[in-house]
Symmetry: C2
Subunit: 122 residues, 2 copies
């Protein structure tokens, strides 16, 4: 599978945000101004009561609302204690414009989620 | 909603491909080396027997297999006579690297499809 790791964004010198297990990172319907890279721990993504994905370190989440300027499409909670690297909308647009590999990785993340969901329709 | 039109890629001087109503553009499981912009007509995207989307002019499809190098995740058929602009993998990577707006538009297309699918789980 194509590389979709964002480990380059979670270096030691970057400011992180800690969320304890069970804590809500964002809720469906909220306005958004940042996405997150998981530095350590696991994050659950839910729409209503349905679990859409459990995400591991070096993956991103929360990118959809930045991409299309709509409210959060899902709720994200910490499954374990998690360490997150927040990426602002401004930083996101800079990364997309300056580093094509970043843009492709974001696309791969979205494409993989669509494939996972497509498989659910059989 | 954020602009996700690809009309800039369907100018008059560009070579197009015509598919008659009912014709198959690609099938689920096939290897992929191009995506398409719809210049005129409507295209249906199906996974198995389920219709995932009916797409209008100035939208793209077939981008997922180029992004993650996996086989086609869905079947695309012409609902009406359609005129398509094929974009090769090489052209796609060039557009992503040289034009950040193109990358963002592809991301918006993927994000909108994920939102549409998320809504189906309630």
């Amino acid at each position: 599978m194509a590389d979709a790791s964002f480990s380059l964004l979670t270096g030691n010198s970057i400011e992180t945000r800690l969320v304890r297990a069970g804590g809500v990172i964002f809720r469906e319907g909220e306005q958004a101004n940042e996405l997150f890279v998981i530095k350590s721990g696991y994050v659950r993504i839910q729409v209503g009561n349905k679990t859409m994905a459990d995400l591991a370190p070096d993956t991103i989440f929360g990118e959809m609302a930045l991409i299309d300027n709509e409210p959060r499409s899902a709720t994200a909670t910490a499954l374990t204690d998690v360490e997150l690297v927040p990426v602002s909308e401004k930083q996101f647009l800079f990364l997309v414009s300056q580093t094509p590999h970043f843009a492709l990785k974001v696309m791969r993340t979205l494409a993989q989620r669509l494939r996972t969901m497509n498989k659910g329709v059989y």
